[in-house]
């Protein structure tokens, strides 16, 4: 059963003005719950934009509109800065002969996927570089006052990381995240940057973004794997909105959706909202295979967690900086915890 507030959010975002109240009694809407829901999905700016576009202000309390209008305006101003900083960054890389492609929210804004740049909330500037350029990028960014968090400690790497540590510049507003890959190592068998990296062979152009079908796939795979949508059937309204705005008619054929279990799962999870006109049905056999796959994934994630924890423990022996940090953490939290007391003494010895 979809909560009334979520129904209203979906209606405002995806339906015509005369259908906004379809299946809803406005008297039963709790606007505080709507704020909680929409902000949890980072959808307050998109909600305001659609209320404005569909001219349905009269359905909402005045203070509610005032509040989300403020959020929209702040977000729009921030996105203007984000776009200008992304362009500056691109020019910097261009000058240093570093090939790069913008990803995720920044790519969506640069590709003009949205009617208004204030609609989409974007955390940071994501872009992908070639693995061979990693050191060069680090040097160029450091030279231009970008630095990683003081908490960051370089550890021994087994796999190519998804991205380098997030970097900030005290003279800039938006943090940046240089990617080496699109997903964590365990998911790269399903979706990786191979296709995207091939486009690096093309001539450098200052602003480069993936094509829309690629953004479509990245959006769905990131939600299914990194945000665990495939494992717990959670949905993200921001991702749904991105997919809706990407309007990939070629990708949205029933044949394409059915052949990819993860894309199919995405559309099955949100089928109850009736946003996309695609009859995706789940059969008994596909249900069973989905469950089996989910269990396999859970086991592999468990194994990986144990492996990573052991790797960190091993590195405690060799990395004095990491040992120092561990010691500080334990010093703060170890009181009355016998095992921690023991580890603290052991690390200190």
């Amino acid at each position: 059963m979809i909560p009334l507030e979520e129904k209203l959010l979906v209606n405002v975002l995806y339906r015509q003005e005369n259908e906004v109240l379809k299946g809803i009694d406005l008297n039963n809407i709790n606007f505080e719950k709507l704020i909680k829901l929409a902000s949890g999905h980072l959808m307050l700016p998109a909600l305001f934009f659609n209320i404005q576009k569909k001219k349905v202000f009269y359905l909402f309390p005045e203070d509610f509109i005032e509040y989300i209008k403020n959020i929209f305006e702040i977000n729009k101003a921030r996105n203007r800065i984000l776009l200008s900083e992304a362009k500056e960054l691109s020019e910097l890389f261009y000058k240093n002969n570093i090939k790069h492609i913008f990803l995720k929210g920044t790519a969506l804004l640069l590709s003009n996927v949205f009617e208004d740049i204030g609609e989409r909330m974007v955390g940071d500037i994501d872009f992908i570089i070639q693995h061979k350029d990693e050191e060069k990028v680090k040097k160029v960014l450091e030279k231009n006052n970008y630095c990683t968090s003081s908490n960051h400690v370089d550890l021994y790497r087994v796999f190519k990381p998804k991205h380098l540590p997030r970097m900030v510049n005290k003279n800039k507003t938006i943090a940046i995240e240089p990617h080496l890959e699109l997903l964590s190592p365990k998911y790269r068998g399903f979706f990786n940057s191979k296709k995207l990296i091939n486009t690096f062979k093309e001539e450098i152009i200052a602003i480069k973004t993936p094509n829309e079908p690629f953004l479509f796939d990245h959006c769905i795979y990131a939600l299914q794997f990194e945000d665990k949508g495939f494992f717990n059937s959670n949905h993200s309204h921001r991702s749904i909105y991105d997919i809706y705005k990407l309007n990939c008619k070629k990708s949205l054929t029933i044949k394409n959706i059915s052949k990819d279990i993860f894309i199919k799962h995405f559309f099955l999870t949100i089928a109850e909202f009736k946003i996309f006109d695609i009859p995706v049905a789940s059969s008994l056999s596909s249900n069973c295979s989905n469950r089996l796959l989910i269990q396999l994934f859970k086991v592999s994630v468990h194994i990986e967690n144990i492996y990573v924890k052991n790797l960190i423990l091993i590195q405690l022996f060799f990395n004095s900086e990491l040992r120092g940090r561990a010691l500080t953490k334990i010093r703060i939290h170890y009181q009355h915890k016998t095992l921690l007391k023991y580890i603290y003494r052991w690390l200190k010895a």
């Binding site: 902000s39 005045e62 509040y67 909330m121 400690v153 507003t173 960190i312």
Partner: protein, 72 residues
């Protein structure tokens, strides 16, 4: 007799009420929204790659606010 010192906007709502109501919605807004909108907080949320990123950043996440949810 109580002295009325409150400013009243043309809409009839007093400033105190407006702040109260703004605060009400702000209090209900998810932290992720503010983390994105406030540049200082967003920059402070400098999350390093997690251990699941292949061991490159197998450190404990920093003490700053969490990174905003979603795929960016």
């Amino acid at each position: 007799m109580k002295k009325n010192t409150e400013e009243t906007a043309p809409s009839g709502i007093s400033r105190k009420d407006a702040i109260k109501k703004m605060g009400k919605y702000a209090a209900l807004t998810a932290i992720g929204t503010f983390v994105i909108l406030d540049p200082m907080k967003a920059q402070a949320s400098s999350a390093s790659p997690s251990p699941s990123d292949g061991g490159s950043g197998g450190e404990t996440p920093p003490d700053g606010p969490p990174s905003p949810p979603g795929w960016g």
